[in-house]
Symmetry: C2
Subunit: 302 residues, 2 copies
């Protein structure tokens, strides 16, 4: 399959939704501008796309379309975006550039960046709980939606992403050790990616067995994603990765290449990606996008 | 009725729930300690208590007990606490003291305070969507729970509390004007208080007419609460209010006393409180706690 065309198409769905979401002006305008600035800063939309691909992979019905669950998928991009805005703050990673553009607090000030992050996170839960009625939208079972909210909250908070971010902050300048590094990567990055995949399955009413396999797929690509990120920070081109190369090293971050070296990190990424693909063995051709996304990750340059 | 005894009893229910909530150790420990530090920093638990009182006021059944909805009520305290932690940050209000104790970032550092706030907000939505099964817990209708989540998210984010906070930040040093002040107060404070009252009603399956009246009650006491806060900042004792007196003036905040003077502000608070009590006219004696809480607000010193 043409994975680039697939990613482009699905990214287009998410981007149009995000563009129209804030089409009405809000008060205060600056807060809205700050939220939109980071939401539209060139994200690859990988989390929402995984949610859509997983939904399609589990669909039992030919009438099921990715369009049905756009707000649920988009909520994952809101959460991802808020986490970037807060991570970039001076009290955290202190980054001036993100995807080649000045970070949110560089443009809107620290106070507004904190509030924009808070608002993006809160809005994600509004979108998840708001049953937007459109002709194309299949009405979701409230209990499935509640489960998705619970899982996304679990994966994003103290038990997931924020926990990983806190450990990352506490581990700067510390001697790298395998256990702490595994904790940081599985919580900071893999938890939200895994729940993106799981949400699509749950909304498609998948079986427990399917959900188990989707979870393995999600955990594998989630970890691979972070390992590849760490490698790109060492080997990527500043113009392509959108931030200064070597910034992990400069901040004395605990990373995969630092602990295992570049070659072993590359091997680890490959192993995780093939583990992800293998876990979908029993899925039919509707899971081809999920498999192709995994393969594509190994090639990414930014 | 003995309102002090009522508040003490309900605060006890919320406090025990919060204490047991984090009884298991989490990783990283510092993040958990930072969350607990602010959750247990002597809050009056007014928002959860309003939720419980409103639930009891609308209960059609004698077997209904406030204990049934503790996690829903407690989630409001998580959201309130996160908002205080973020508001106190140097980039926002830059406060060193809160309720007589050093603010979160003074103890744990700015990065950890930002993350603790993020985790508290996220955990609120986890609690709201997590159907905790206990013998005493009446299983809630998923659709009512989804409605509560949607309303709480709406009241806390860009359309509510965070919007008000952003306007507050943007209005420092500006000439006070009535419209902006009304916007700040209704969004920053009254929105979360109103939704606390509404949530209790929705969870008790109240009628549309009851919900309409509860909303009027909530909006009135919510505004009164902020007006009284503004007055206490001018007239209160530092030891009693737990922060330096006159800090609004020092930060050039837009407040009620600044725009209307102390006497007119007192009058406004009284008017709002009696408006709140009047809106519950058709409620029976089960709404007595709500009425007494409103009266009690006029007397508060901290």
């Amino acid at each position: 399959m043409d994975i680039k065309a697939y990613l482009r198409e699905k990214k287009g769905l998410i981007d149009s939704f995000l563009e129209s979401y804030f089409s009405a002006p809000l008060t205060p305008k600056t807060l809205q501008e700050s939220m939109i600035y980071s939401l539209s800063a060139g994200g690859k939309r990988i989390r929402p796309i995984l949610c859509l691909a997983s939904y399609e992979a589990c669909a039992k019905d030919n009438k099921v379309k990715a369009e049905d669950i756009i707000p649920y998928a988009a909520s994952l991009e809101f959460i991802h975006t808020y986490s970037l805005v807060h991570d970039d703050l001076p009290a955290m990673d202190n980054d001036d550039l993100r995807r080649g553009k000045p970070t949110n607090h560089k443009v809107f000030g620290e106070g507004m960046a904190i509030l924009a992050g808070d608002a993006l996170l809160t809005e994600a839960f509004y979108m998840l709980s708001n049953n937007i009625k459109k002709p194309s939208t299949i009405s979701r079972q409230p209990s499935a939606v509640l489960r998705v909210i619970r899982e996304i909250a679990m994966a994003s908070g103290v038990h997931g992403m924020v926990g990983g971010q806190a450990q990352d902050l506490l581990s700067e300048n510390a001697e790298p050790d395998a256990k702490t590094l595994a904790f940081i990567h599985s919580h900071k990055t893999a938890a939200l990616i895994t729940v993106s995949v799981r949400s699509g399955g749950i909304l498609a009413n998948c079986s427990d067995d399917e959900l188990f396999k989707l979870t393995k797929y999600g955990e594998n690509i989630g970890l691979a994603f972070q390992v590849i990120d760490d490698i790109l920070d060492v080997e990527g081109e500043t113009e392509v990765i959108g931030k200064p190369k070597g910034s992990d090293e400069k901040k004395k971050k605990m990373t995969y290449p630092k602990l295992y070296g570049i070659e072993k990190s590359r091997e680890k990424a490959r192993e995780l990606i093939y583990g992800a693909i293998n876990s979908l063995e029993t899925f039919d051709e509707k899971a081809e996008p999920l498999r192709s996304i995994a393969r594509y990750m190994l090639e990414r340059k930014s």
